[in-house]
Amino acid sequence: MKVNKRAKRDAKQLFHLCLVNRLLAENRVRHVVQRVVTAGRRDGPAILSHFRRLLRLDRARHTAIIESVTVVPADVQAAIEAGLMRRYGPHVTTTFAYRPALIAGVRIQVGSDVYDGSVQARLTALEKSF
């Protein structure tokens, strides 16, 4: 969908309205979405699509996806979470996933930052260096 500048600007304003203490407040988000839908403006869908994109990006920034091959031991999990919280603030949600392609080790992705300690990453780097 082609979103013009005005719709983007409006969506950005709405997004900032949903932030409380620099965190997304879910009830406000629902309220905003309902109001836009009921208002029935011509560029409603465009605004909402950009709004959704901004939400998605914000959510990605505050979500840490931890992929591993085996179940991560509890103390290591705690250590990882503590580290993430120190770096990214207290409102980071952690998700654990299973990814056998990693062979061994853990890959943590928070937004655009990636901490890849897996064996697969090292092997790919080695192959590239040849």
């Binding site: 031991p73 990882i80 993430l84 080790g105 192959e127």
Partner: protein, 168 residues
């Protein structure tokens, strides 16, 4: 015979003779004025021209001799200059030949150097390819094997390492 008789025999009559002398005199005078003088003048003119022509011929001969001498001089000079030119041309040709020889030697050397470089490059390329293939095999082998040989202890160690990096 008597003189009068001789004269009568030959038909000489004094009145007629006088008349004839007078007429002859008139004819002479007329001829002299209208014929002899122009002719004589013309002959005189021609004589003078011939004398002039002869004098000119002398001059021309002298001139010719002088020109011939000059021509000889110029020929000698031209010969000398031609010799100088030939010498210079020879020197220039020797120089050019030297240059061309040097160029040919340089070109031949260049060809050998190029060939050697091409061989070295080929060698390097093959080594690089070999290295790549070996690397790929190593990675393949490791990928296939590592998952099976790593213990849970190793997994834990790797996870801890990443946790440390996040915290750092």
């Amino acid at each position: 015979m008597r003189p009068e008789g001789i004269l009568a025999t030959f038909g000489v009559d004094w009145s007629h003779l006088l008349a004839q002398v007078v007429s002859f005199g008139i004819v002479c005078v007329i001829l002299y004025r209208f014929a002899y003088r122009p002719v004589l003048t013309m002959l005189e003119v021609r004589r003078q021209q011939i004398a002039l022509g002869l004098a000119n011929a002398e001059q021309i001969k002298a001139e010719l001799a002088r020109t011939e001498a000059q021509r000889q001089d110029v020929m000698v000079q031209a010969n000398a200059q031609a010799n100088i030119l030939i010498e210079e041309a020879r020197a220039a040709a020797a120089r050019v030949r030297e240059q061309q020889t040097q160029k040919a030697i340089a070109a031949a050397e260049q060809i050998t150097i190029n060939a050697r470089e091409a061989a070295a490059r080929e060698h390097d390329r093959m080594l690089a390819e070999l290295k790549r293939e070996v690397g790929r095999l190593v990675v393949q082998a490791t990928t296939a094997v590592t998952g099976k040989i790593l213990t849970s202890e190793d997994q834990r160690r790797l996870a801890e390492e990443t946790a440390r990096r996040v915290a750092a």
